[in-house]
C-alpha cells in the first residue's frame, strides 16, 4: 500500500482526497437539508422529530455518523495541509494582485470560507449534536423544541445565516471543482455539472438559511 500513500501525498493526491471527501460531505448535506426541511410542513415538528428519532437511533445511521465525522476531519486536515503547503510556494508576495481579472473571489478563498464554516460548525454541533447525542436534554423536550429555543436569539440567527452564506460560496466553487479534480472535464458533462453545482449551492444554502429565519419570525410553529 506504499504506492497509495505515496500518491496521496503528492499534490494531485491531496486534491483527490479533498474532492472525494468534499463530494461525500455534499451527499450528506442533501440528507441533512432534506430532513430538516420537513419543519416547513408546519406540523409542529411531528415529521421532523420522527426523522430525528430515526437518525439518532438507527444503527446504520449511527455508524455512518462516525464515517461522516471521519470524512469531515479528513477534509479539514487535507484542506489545512494544502493551505499550508501552497502558502510556502510563493515566499515573496506580489505588491499588486488583480485577482478579480482572472478568477472568482470565492474560488481563491476556499480556505477562508472553510475556516468560517469550521467555526460555524463548532457552534452548530454545540447547539444540536451535543444536545441530542451527549446530554439527556431529549428526555425533557424534542430537537424541534430545541431549534425553536435556540433560534429566539437574533445573534444566533445572524451567525447561522452568515454560516449558510459561507456554505453557499464554498459549495459554488467546491462542487464543480471536485469533478475537475476527479478528471471529469468533458464538453458533454461539464456545463451540466456546473449548472447542477450552482443550483445545488444556492438551494442548499437558501433552505438552510430559511430555517433559523422562519423560527425567529414565527413563520413556523
Amino acid at each position: 500500500m506504499a504506492w497509495l500513500a505515496k500518491s496521496l501525498h503528492s499534490s494531485l493526491g491531496k486534491k483527490l482526497l479533498m474532492a472525494i471527501t468534499g463530494l461525500f460531505l455534499i451527499s450528506f448535506l442533501v440528507i441533512h437539508c432534506g430532513l430538516n426541511a420537513t419543519i416547513f410542513l408546519n406540523d409542529g415538528g411531528v415529521a421532523f422529530n420522527e426523522g430525528a428519532e430515526f437518525m439518532g437511533t438507527n444503527p446504520i445511521i449511527r455508524t455512518m455518523e462516525i464515517v461522516l465525522f471521519g470524512g469531515l476531519l479528513l477534509h479539514i486536515y487535507d484542506g489545512l495541509r494544502l493551505w499550508l503547503d501552497n502558502k510556502k510556494k510563493r515566499p515573496v508576495a506580489y505588491a499588486v494582485v488583480d485577482g478579480a481579472a482572472n478568477s472568482k473571489w470565492y474560488s481563491r478563498s476556499m480556505g477562508l470560507l472553510g475556516t468560517l464554516l469550521l467555526l460555524f460548525l463548532i457552534i452548530h454541533l454545540k447547539h444540536f449534536w451535543y444536545f441530542s447525542r451527549l446530554t439527556d436534554g431529549l428526555a425533557s423536550h424534542t430537537l424541534y423544541a430545541e431549534m425553536q429555543a435556540v433560534f429566539t436569539n437574533p445573534i444566533v440567527v445572524i451567525v447561522y445565516v452568515l454560516g449558510c452564506i459561507s456554505l453557499g460560496y464554498h459549495l459554488l466553487h467546491g462542487f464543480q471543482s471536485a469533478f475537475q479534480t476527479l478528471g471529469w472535464n468533458h464538453p458533454k458533462y461539464t456545463p451540466t455539472i456546473k449548472s447542477i453545482g450552482a443550483i445545488y449551492a444556492i438551494v442548499i444554502s437558501a433552505v438552510f438559511a430559511a430555517m433559523p429565519i422562519a423560527f425567529y419570525f414565527h413563520l413556523i410553529h
Binding site: S7, L16, N86, V92, A95, Q180, W184
Partner: protein
C-alpha cells in the same frame, strides 16, 4: 500630447537570488502608444545606461509572442492587462497617460529571481526531462499515414503543444502551481498514439518532478487558463489527473 504618454514605473530591482529586492520608481515621458511594453523598458534602459546606472534586467527573445521569455507581472497580472498576449505583444496604448505601472518578476519559490525581472525557469525544463518525451526507433522514418490519428485528437494535441512554457500560469496561480504547464506537456503526448508507450510512467514522473521543484497544488480557480497567452485549457489538468490516477491504480 496625443499618442504619447508620461508614466511612473515602479519596477522590482533585485541584485541576485540571495539579496532581498525592492521597488525603484522611474519616470518616463514621451512614450509612443505604438511601442510595445518591452520597447518602453528599452527606452528607460537607454536612459539608465547613459546616466551610468544599472539597466533593468528582463528576459526577452523573439519579441513576436512565440518564445515565452518576456516574463513580467504588470499591475497585478502576468503579461499585463490584455488576455492572450505575452508582454512583447502588449502595447502602450493599453495604458493611460499619467498612470503608475507596477512591474514585478514571476514570484514563485520554484522560479528564483536571477536579477531584477529575470527568473530562473529551469524547473520547467526538469519537469519535461522527467517524462515529456516519446521513444522513437532508429532507422528510416515510417510512412506518416501508418498511424491513423483522428483530426480532433490531432487538433487537441496541437492546442496543448501550443504551450510556450512562459510560466504565466505559475505567476497567475495563487498557489504558484505549474499544473497547467505540466498538464499541457503531458496532454500533447497522451492524446497521440506515439505517447502511449510511456503513458503509465509519464504523468507519475512529471508530477513527482513538479512537486519536487516546489510548485503548489491546484485550487481550480482557473486563473492560469485566463492568463495563458496561448489559451491552454483547464481540460488538460483534468486529463493529467486521469493519466496520473489511472497509472497510480493500474500500473504494476
Amino acid at each position: 500630447m496625443e499618442g504619447h504618454l508620461n508614466l511612473t514605473l515602479k519596477i522590482w530591482r533585485q541584485k541576485n537570488a540571495n539579496t532581498a529586492g525592492k521597488f525603484e520608481t522611474y519616470q518616463v515621458s514621451g512614450i509612443s502608444t505604438d511601442m510595445s511594453f518591452l520597447e518602453m523598458i528599452d527606452v528607460l534602459n537607454n536612459r539608465l545606461i547613459e546616466e551610468g546606472d544599472d539597466p533593468v534586467a528582463f528576459d526577452h527573445d523573439c519579441r513576436e509572442g512565440i518564445c515565452g521569455m518576456c516574463s513580467m507581472y504588470i499591475n497585478g497580472r502576468p503579461h499585463g492587462p490584455n488576455r492572450g498576449v505575452t508582454t512583447c505583444q502588449l502595447h502602450m496604448r493599453s495604458f493611460q497617460d499619467g498612470e503608475t505601472i507596477t512591474v514585478e518578476p514571476w514570484r514563485a519559490s520554484a522560479f528564483p529571481v536571477i536579477k531584477d525581472l529575470v527568473v530562473n525557469r529551469s524547473s520547467f525544463d526538469r519537469i519535461i526531462a522527467a517524462g515529456g518525451f516519446v521513444s522513437v526507433n532508429t532507422g528510416n522514418a515510417q510512412d506518416a499515414n501508418n498511424l491513423p490519428i483522428a483530426k480532433d485528437d490531432a487538433d487537441e494535441a496541437f492546442a496543448a503543444a501550443a504551450c510556450i512554457g512562459c510560466g504565466a500560469c505559475v505567476a497567475a496561480c495563487k498557489n504558484a502551481s505549474a499544473m497547467l504547464f505540466t498538464s499541457a506537456k503531458i496532454s500533447q503526448l497522451a492524446l497521440l498514439p506515439q505517447g502511449k508507450a510511456e503513458a503509465s510512467k509519464r504523468a507519475q514522473a512529471m508530477v513527482a518532478q513538479m512537486d519536487e521543484e516546489g510548485f503548489g497544488a491546484c485550487s481550480n480557480t482557473g486563473a492560469c487558463e485566463a492568463e495563458c497567452p496561448k489559451g491552454i485549457s483547464l481540460e488538460n489538468i483534468a486529463r493529467m489527473n486521469r493519466e496520473y490516477f489511472s497509472a497510480t491504480f493500474s500500473s504494476k
